[in-house]
């Protein structure tokens, strides 16, 4: 019933139809695909640009600095100034480098991270590619970017960047596992690998005002937390930014890159962050669904954008707070904490699924068991992980 929807909700569709009306019918498929790609590139390109600015501003404010405020009003033109700077820098290729792979690595990385934008439902009618196994596509595109990291590290003929690339790969592979395991519960509950079906399954409200989002269940909360930690690591964000630890390594596997190729790696990092954030919104935060029924007049894509921006600000906040992990702590955290927790979470969701048919009166028991299944392993494994580490004493800090 498209007419019952507010006008703003249908605005993108109307715009697309207006463009289509200008062109002959046989070109329709091509025009639609081209429009999808152009809009995705434009929106996320601008989001990337202003995310870098927002990151620098927020980090600055957290450290009691004003942040960049020179280019344009309050610094809004800073990303474009950065872009011009990066484009005009010299592009150095080492003499012994493998020129083809050296060139292909950043291109492949950006391409793979852009590919994952295709399957995220941005709104009720805004989905570039409605695939039956869209979630799998998303993670397949993400997994392919490991190859680009290896190419970047190997092609420079620099043993340090090669070592750093192997460390980065160890990190990416370690955190790929909890990332994949943490979304399996969502697939089990909604019974589909299609992102749009997963979002639809989270529609509706308990008692009229508590949304049926996955994150508001015990297993969903645990899965969301694991997913967010793993996506911090997958997108090389602090505190897991070991691959490119700018203050310790010389940019790790990016050592031999300069100029715009270097900027492309950063573009890929931010695109990956946006894509993983968007997937987290889709899987756990109800996608484009409004949190309350009476807020439904706000168009769905605005809700998606608000949730995505909140997650991205959370990424920045965490970056400003937590210090970097060591490589052994990082891998131990993945294999000894996140992977077991994600596996236990499968048991929790199995219980949740089986107990769905219990009568309403057993609901408190159902919740209690599910919460216990999440909290007890968390505490037990956390204790084991931190065994032997006493409380910190700060000799020189003011108490």
């Amino acid at each position: 019933m498209p007419h019952a929807e507010p006008w703003l909700e249908r605005a993108p569709l109307l715009l697309r139809d207006a463009v289509n009306a200008l062109l002959p019918a046989p070109a329709r498929w091509w025009v639609d695909s081209f429009l999808d790609i152009a809009v995705l590139l434009g929106v996320f390109g601008l989001l990337f640009a202003f995310l870098t600015l927002a990151e620098r501003k927020v980090l600055g404010r957290i450290q009691n600095r004003p942040g960049p405020n020179r280019a344009g009003w309050g610094g809004v033109l800073q990303p474009f100034a950065d872009g011009i700077k990066m484009l005009t820098k010299e592009d150095i290729v080492p003499r012994l480098a493998d020129p083809i792979l050296h060139f292909a690595a950043p291109v492949a990385l950006v391409a793979f991270s852009l590919m994952s934008f295709a399957v995220i439902p941005y709104g009720r009618h805004l989905l570039a590619l409605d695939m039956d196994s869209g979630v799998l596509y998303f993670f397949a595109a993400g997994a392919s970017s490991e190859l680009a990291v290896f190419m970047a590290g190997w092609s420079g003929r620099n043993k340090y960047s090669l070592l750093a690339a192997m460390r980065a790969l160890a990190q990416l592979i370690s955190y790929e596992l909890p990332l994949l395991l943490s979304f399996v519960p969502v697939v089990m509950i909604s019974g589909s690998l299609s992102p749009s079906a997963i979002v639809t399954a989270q529609g509706g409200w308990h008692l009229g005002f508590i949304p049926r989002w996955n994150v508001l269940t015990p297993w969903g909360f645990a899965g969301f937390a694991i997913f967010m930690v793993a996506s911090l690591a997958e997108s090389n964000r602090s505190p897991f930014d070991l691959p490119e630890a700018e203050s310790e390594l010389i940019a790790g596997h990016l050592t031999e890159y300069s100029g715009f190729k270097y900027a492309l790696f950063f573009m890929a990092e931010y695109f990956g962050m946006c894509a993983l954030g968007g997937m987290a919104v889709t899987l756990f935060l109800g996608g484009w669904q409004a949190p309350c029924a009476f807020l439904g007049f706000i168009p769905s894509y605005a809700w998606f954008g608000a949730k995505l921006l909140a997650l991205l600000l959370g990424f920045i906040w965490i970056r400003a707070t937590l210090p970097r992990l060591r490589i052994d702590q990082l891998t131990r955290f993945a294999w000894k904490f996140l992977v077991p927790l994600a596996l236990v979470n499968l048991v929790t969701v199995g219980f949740w699924h089986l107990s769905a048919s219990w009568s309403r009166g057993f609901d408190p028991l159902r919740w209690a068991i599910a919460i216990a299944l999440v909290v007890i392993p968390f505490v037990a494994m956390g204790r084991r992980l931190s065994a032997g580490l006493g409380p910190r004493t700060y000799r020189f800090a003011a108490q």
Binding site: S133, L136, Y137, A143, S144, E146, L147, W154, E176
Partner: protein, 170 residues
């Protein structure tokens, strides 16, 4: 003939063929990854979405990484990752064997009267595959899982075993 299929075939055969001739092992492996992506594209073309993404996830994400790590772990000396070429007799015999097999298979394919079902690509929804996997083929799924687990454990034991005293062996 289908233009998309022709393009995919060109991608697969060209990347595999060039990978066959390159001396640099890393480049060879990366080209083989391109071949695997091409095979995934073939699955996608045939309508097997799930298999295509599984192929990318497993081959592009996991197997390629294992292979590249192995390449980097076993290189030594000045040669680096360049392979010493095989004797020409072996290359000729390999090409002959490959050509013979290709000829025989192509002949068999051309001569067999196949009756392909025409029509659009069949659709295999993930839900359908999942139901089949867990009902009809549950035993095979368990067996595959067991094989994977045992193989990974065996791989870890093999790669990590030996101990430091074997490090400077012959």
């Amino acid at each position: 003939m289908n233009a998309v299929l022709a393009a995919i075939a060109l991608l697969i055969l060209a990347s595999a063929g060039i990978a066959l001739t390159l001396r640099n092992i890393v480049r060879s492996v990366i080209l083989l990854v391109v071949t695997w992506f091409g095979i995934a594209a073939f699955y996608l073309w045939a309508g097997a979405e799930f298999v295509a993404f599984a192929q990318v996830l497993v081959y592009g994400g996991a197997v390629s990484m294992v292979v590249l790590f192995a390449v980097l772990l076993v290189r030594h000396g000045k040669a680096g990752v360049a392979e010493t070429p095989a004797p020409s007799g072996r290359i000729v015999s390999a090409l002959l064997a490959g050509g013979a097999i290709a000829g025989a298979l192509a002949g068999a394919v051309a001569l067999t009267p196949l009756a392909p079902a025409a029509g659009p690509a069949p659709f295999a929804p993930v839900r359908h595959i999942g139901v089949l996997l867990l009902n009809t083929h549950a035993a095979s799924l368990l067996a595959a899982g067991a094989i994977l687990t045992v193989a990974l454990l065996g791989g870890v034991v093999l790669a990590a075993g030996g101990g430091p005293e074997k490090e400077d062996g012959p």
